[in-house]
């Protein structure tokens, strides 16, 4: 098993003929993802890498029975793309686009929720269920099929952690990059619940960073509901307040959202928090009793 995506994931790529869209379509096809279609208004009826292109997501869904979409359109069109996907019946929408205005995300998220669709991102690397499906821009070759679930606010830091896991023989059930913006779709709480319920996940790595209080809320959830071992890592311990560290969501405001607060909350919930990414495999092994 895995969460969110697997062998029955049927993916369409919104903005498939763009530079990023076509590049990563190729990567996803190579990984084995069932990319069943793509959209670019006006390019309907053509093909891209052997994949049929449609004018609208509606047509794409009708013709391909897609259930998942990934979005590579420019930031100013991203919210519209999310809403089109949700309205067309897509149930999992992954938005890679970076720099989407926050109020656009607020509206698109609400709309997707009303339509019963789940959103991941925007400004995220997407997600991966090793050996089954890649829906995102994550480097497929560093992953290995296994029983560790990874959820993260960051891209390359996720790769770093996954790299250490794989190097230590610890494969992954699913890895989800949730996105670095203040408002994004699925987050720690929902994903922890999914991983807790996933029979193929034995332990969880959660990678947080400064800003907001999602890690604190995750800690509360873990305390109450998560019985599987959890190891954490929080980036930004040395970040100064009031400065945005790359991710629009990574900012310590008015003394809250600090790494120290998050680490304290997680440790109080029984989560081991690593000082550096390379410690994570050992901590997991200890927790799993291996």
């Amino acid at each position: 098993m895995s969460i969110l995506i697997n062998e029955s994931t049927r993916l369409i790529v919104q903005g498939i003929t763009g530079r990023d869209g076509s590049f990563h379509t190729k990567k996803m096809l190579e990984y084995g993802t069932k990319v069943v279609g793509g959209t670019t208004p006006g390019k309907g009826g053509t093909e891209m890498l052997g994949v049929p292109v449609f004018n609208t997501v509606y047509e794409a869904v009708e013709n391909t029975q897609a259930n998942t979409s990934i979005i590579f359109v420019p930031a100013r069109f991203a919210a519209d793309a999310i809403m089109e996907a949700a309205d067309a019946g897509i149930k999992l929408i992954v938005c890679i686009s970076e720099g989407v205005p926050t109020l656009d995300v607020v509206e698109a998220y609400r709309f997707a929720d009303m339509k019963g669709a789940m959103l991941i991102g925007p400004n995220c690397p997407g997600l991966m269920s090793p050996g089954k499906s890649l829906v995102g821009i994550l480097p497929g070759q560093i992953f290995k099929k296994g029983n560790i679930g990874v959820i993260s606010r960051s891209g390359t830091l996720t790769y770093e952690v996954v790299y250490h896991l794989t190097a230590n023989g610890m494969g992954q059930s699913s890895a989800v990059g949730m996105g670095g913006d203040p408002v994004v779709g699925l987050y720690f709480r929902e994903l922890l619940e999914m991983l807790q319920n996933d029979p193929d996940t034995d332990a969880i790595v959660m990678i947080g960073e400064i800003g907001g209080n999602a890690e604190e809320q995750a800690a509360e959830y873990i305390k109450k509901y998560v019985t599987k071992p959890v190891v954490g890592f929080i980036a930004g311990q040395s970040a100064p307040p009031g400065k945005q560290m790359g991710h629009a969501g990574a900012i310590i405001s008015s003394g809250s959202g600090t790494a120290a607060e998050k680490i304290e909350a997680l440790e109080a919930a029984g989560v081991n928090v690593a000082k550096e990414p390379s410690e994570i495999p050992e901590m997991l092994k200890a927790k799993l009793g291996k």
Binding site: K27, A75, R76, G99, V100, P101, T102, L103, V105, V106, Y109, R110, F111, M114, I137, P139, Q141, I142, S152, R153, S154, G155, T156, L157, T158, Y159, E160, Y163, G180, P182, V183, G185, I207, E209, I210, G212, N213, Q217, F233, A235, G236, Q237, S238, A239, P240, K243, Q244, M245, G246, H247, A248, G249, A250, S254, G255, S256, A259, K275, E276, S278
Partner: protein, 377 residues
């Protein structure tokens, strides 16, 4: 993006939210003239700086004469508040305060929506109230598909007021401020304090707004109010090149791909006893020109004694990254020590290519950081 109180008040006015008349002044003579023009007994002189805590820093003073106004203006224009020198002030009519309230709209990460926050105690440090007595702060998420129709504005207003005339005034302020917030892609719109005057009117005595940087492309009016600090100018220039850059105080320059990894690199430098000179995320690819631009940026900071390059080769392979680094440094004239840590796809090939060159190559983040900290001492 932040704007000044007086700029926020101009926006408030254009949306019909009541504020007192003010004059913007750059020197104390103008302030004295403003006192005359306001033709009132009491005025307030307020520093206009893009930071909070003006009151505690002596940046807000009541004056009851022309001379006193001039004197306060002179003092305040000499202040530096949290590194911001005060170069402008406003002189504004004082109000007869019957009671003070707090209200704001802010984007809330947890509900993924705009929320309205209100408190019956205004003019105080709201974060202190939130920490000590959170039950005093009322929070209401706003459904973006519904907005703030009359019935909701009224419902929320009844939380603070009983008198229906005040409720109607408050509801109107709520609706106008929400519209302003949405129209202008704000991330915060705050009135603290919102004052009920002795005459029974509600008025915004302070005004604070910040805006979503990602939406500035469609907010020309807001963008025209931007007054970047020196640091912000450097950061904006870096952004134009595709970098996320924040200047810090230390000696170890960092160049990393990815924001999370860049933060983790800074953290590890501190953990190992060093001090990072910056946060720098150079983004996805590692083409030579990007590396040249990044090094140029880092080397502008004369405190930098060593550079730590931390690259995870994901989509871009490590051997490609290595050849990019070699090409870039051929064109760079610097003999500063450069530690390179390369991990990911084809890492061995990549590291081999860098052996015997000017780069000191490390395998792990730990090793690289230790080398950089040592070199910085």
């Amino acid at each position: 993006m932040k704007i000044h109180e007086y700029q926020a008040k101009d926006l408030f006015s254009s949306y019909g939210i009541p504020v007192k008349k003010y004059f913007l002044c750059y020197e104390h003579n103008e302030a004295a003239a403003a006192y005359d023009k306001l033709a009132t007994d009491y005025v307030v002189v307020k520093a206009q700086v893009l930071t909070g805590g003006r009151g505690k820093a002596g940046g807000v003073k009541l004056a009851k004469s022309r001379d006193e106004t001039s004197q306060h203006a002179k003092n305040i224009l000499g202040l530096t508040i949290k590194d911001y020198p005060v170069t402008k002030i406003i002189v504004t009519e004082a109000v007869d305060i019957s009671s003070e309230y707090y209200m704001s709209f802010i984007i809330d990460r947890n509900t993924k929506s705009v929320i309205l926050m209100m408190c019956a105690e205004g003019g105080v440090d709201i974060e202190e109230v939130a920490a000590k007595t959170p039950e005093k702060i009322h929070k209401f998420p706003i459904d973006p598909l519904v907005g703030l129709p009359d019935y909701l504005a009224r419902k929320f207003s009844f939380v603070l007021f009983k008198d229906v005339h005040l409720v109607n005034q408050m509801a109107s302020i709520l609706q106008k401020l929400y519209k302003l917030f949405i129209d202008k892609d704000a991330s915060l719109a705050e009135i603290n304090p919102l004052v009920l005057t002795e005459q029974g009117g509600l008025i915004a005595v302070d005004a604070k707004m910040t805006f979503d940087d990602n939406a500035l492309y469609r907010q020309h009016e807001v963008l025209s109010l931007f007054e970047p600090t020196e640091d912000e100018k450097v950061e904006a220039a870096a952004k134009d090149k595709g970098f996320s850059f924040v200047r810090l105080d230390g000696e170890i320059g960092c160049m990393v791909n990815g924001a999370g990894l860049a933060m983790a690199t800074m953290d590890m430098i501190k953990l190992y006893g060093g001090s990072p000179a910056n946060f720098l995320d150079i983004g996805g690819s590692s083409n030579p020109n990007k590396v040249i631009d990044a090094m140029t940026l880092l080397l502008k900071d004369k405190k930098v004694k060593v550079v730590l390059i931390n690259i995870f080769g994901g989509i871009t392979r490590c051997d490609d990254v290595a050849s990019g680094l070699l090409t870039a440094f051929k064109q760079l004239e610097t003999d500063i020590p450069v530690i390179v840590r390369l991990t990911g796809t084809n890492e061995k090939e990549g590291r081999e290519m860098l052996q015997g060159t000017r780069f000191k190559v490390a395998e792990t983040m730990g090793e690289a950081t230790r080398m950089a900290v040592e070199a910085s001492k």
